[in-house]
């Protein structure tokens, strides 16, 4: 295991932020800490980096107890949401910082920094200053800077949180590809479930300072541990007292076995996807269907239909909560 977090508790004043958190991160994996804001995911990341001290519990990095080690000695790479670029240093000097601190020979630094700048596609920007870069470029620079010292683990705190949607999507794909090239154990914090599912190979869901579920993206999406995780990981709707994914509902104008009668209240076309809003037993629910399917049914508001969870679809009974 690259990172082993055991029974970590942390409070800010009287507010508990982490409660008995234990997480294992496998070597070479790309793990997402996913959860709503205030869930403790950033604090957990900072505890791993040594930027916060846990009240109790231990953190081991590559088998070494790092709980009381200063961030300086942990050999972790950390990328901040707002880049934390060294404003008075050029892009080159930013990336070289960790190597200069380690007093590496000049030619070695130059070679390594240029390699990294190529890796993050900033080789032409080496002499610029952070203020002359776009947000996405700054974040790539910060990533190169963190990678320069060959860290045991790379920690990213909402790395794309401050970027606009388009750049965010690009960088996501790029991070995934970068990880496939570099293979450094990576943990990143995000509140965006789509980002976590797309990029990570393991998702740790954190809420109210506790680990709620750990698993692969498919596992967490398909077999959520509780209604909270199910709601957080993707769209849900409620029929017959259960939580169901809207794309896991069958809708029909003819009676079907186990179906519940419903009335169509609205049909919203969102490109390829069509949202059919229905009323089931006095409650609002919605069903996601393809445009083709919706056209075949020719649904109109007021139509009487029958709905049921698709056979084999995972649903969670709400009464259990």
């Amino acid at each position: 295991m690259a990172i082993e977090v055991r029974d970590v508790n942390k409070s800010f004043g009287t507010t508990p932020v982490l409660r008995e958190v234990s997480v294992d991160v496998a070597s070479g994996s790309l793990t997402a800490l996913l959860g709503p804001s205030g869930g403790g995911k950033s604090t957990l990341l900072r505890v791993i980096a040594g930027l916060e001290q846990p009240d109790t519990g231990t953190v081991r990095i590559s088998g070494v107890d790092a709980t009381r080690l200063s961030p300086q000695r942990r050999n972790v790479g950390f990328v901040f949401q707002h880049y934390a670029a060294f404003k008075h240093l050029s892009v080159f000097r930013n990336v070289a910082f960790g190597l200069e601190i380690r007093k590496r020979p000049k030619d070695e630094i130059r070679k390594r920094v240029m390699e990294l700048l190529e890796l993050v596609h900033l080789e032409k920007m080496a002499d610029r200053y952070p203020s002359q870069l776009s947000g996405g470029q700054r974040q790539r620079m910060a990533l190169a800077r963190a990678l320069a010292v060959e860290p045991e683990v790379l920690l990213l705190d909402e790395p794309f949180g401050a970027l606009d949607a388009q750049v965010r999507k690009e960088l996501r794909t790029w991070l995934r590809r970068l990880h496939d090239e570099v293979h450094v154990t990576t943990v990143f914090v995000t509140h965006d479930q789509e980002e976590a599912i797309e990029v990570a190979d393991t998702i740790v869901v954190l809420a109210n300072g506790e680990v709620v579920q750990v698993g692969s993206p498919a596992d967490v999406y398909d077999n959520p541990a509780n209604p909270f995780v199910m709601r957080f990981l993707g769209p849900v709707t409620e029929i017959g007292g259960s939580l169901v994914r809207p794309h896991d509902i069958e809708i029909s104008v003819d009676p079907i076995e186990g179906g519940t009668p419903a009335t169509v209240s609205r049909v919203v076309r969102l490109g390829f996807e069509v949202r059919v809003e229905v009323e089931v037993g006095g409650q609002e629910a919605w069903v996601q269907v393809t445009r083709e399917f919706a056209d075949r049914l020719g649904l109109e508001p007021g139509d009487a239909v029958v709905v049921r969870p698709a056979p084999g679809a995972r649903s969670l009974a709400l009464s259990a909560v």
Partner: protein, 260 residues
């Protein structure tokens, strides 16, 4: 119409308050050419006064720069009981009259005071000597560096320092390579202000120095003493020199200011 009246008023106000006196001093100084000016400033007493002023100012600036950086970091980056009190104390010198500062220092460090007596027995004379004048100058210019640095340090945030730590920098390395360059313009501005204040200090230094000619006489004390002794050329020459230094520092602060 009102606009022009206001402008005229402001100009007249400045004319009588600032331009006229300064211009008159300059006119009086150079009225008989550059020769007497140079002569008055190169007399042994004047040169000695220059030297004393410089010594006192440099020590005061060094002390206040170190103290200013330390306290700024303490105030911005740390929380501790009594922080607000410390913050309030730093502005105290702005409110207290320099003469009071001088008298207070004599009460503590004078020959017949406990602390002063003790130091005297070790051979260190504070009052009527350079250490006392440095103390007085440090006191009156205490807030200048702190007040220049604190807002910039606040704006800078601590993420860059944290990033430096994760990259392997010690606290001291992070300070030298990240924090210090981040506050350099503000620090420069504070240091120049502090220097200007130290060079021009009169009241507190007058009390603790004992105004011993050729011994503890600074340039401001020299101006006053020469004037009292009807040596107006020397007084005006030294005053003009002080004014020139003030103008240069003012220009320096203007140069340093917009960079942040």
């Amino acid at each position: 119409m009102a606009k022009y009246a206001l402008r005229a008023l402001a100009l007249v106000y400045l004319l009588f308050l600032l331009v006229l006196p300064v211009a008159l001093i300059v006119w009086r100084t150079f009225g008989d050419g550059f020769g007497p000016f140079a002569e008055a400033l190169t007399s042994p007493s004047a040169l000695h006064a220059f030297q004393v002023t410089l010594t006192v100012a440099v020590w005061a600036v060094v002390a206040n720069t170190l103290f200013g950086i330390g306290v700024s970091i303490l105030l911005v980056r740390h929380s501790f009981p009594g922080k607000r009190l410390l913050n309030a104390f730093i502005d105290l010198p702005m409110a207290v009259s320099p003469v009071v500062v001088g008298l207070a220092l004599i009460l503590v460090y004078g020959r017949f005071a406990p602390v002063g007596g003790l130091l005297e027995s070790w051979g260190i004379q504070v009052i009527f000597s350079t250490p006392g004048m440095v103390l007085a100058t440090v006191f009156v210019s205490l807030p200048l560096v702190v007040r220049a640095v604190v807002p910039v340090l606040e704006e800078l945030g601590d993420e860059q320092e944290q990033a430096a730590h994760t990259l392997g920098a010690s606290r001291f390395q992070a300070f030298l390579r990240i924090t210090l360059p981040g506050i350099r313009w503000a620090l420069g501005y504070g240091v120049v202000l502090c220097l200007a204040r130290s060079l021009g200090e009169y009241g507190a230094v007058a009390v603790v120095s004992g105004r011993l000619v050729d011994q503890t006489q600074t340039l401001t004390l020299f101006v006053e003493e020469r004037f009292q002794n009807f040596d107006q050329p020397a007084a005006f020459a030294a005053a003009t020199a002080l004014a020139l230094i003030a103008v240069v520092t003012l220009l320096l602060t203007k140069l340093l200011r917009p960079k942040d």
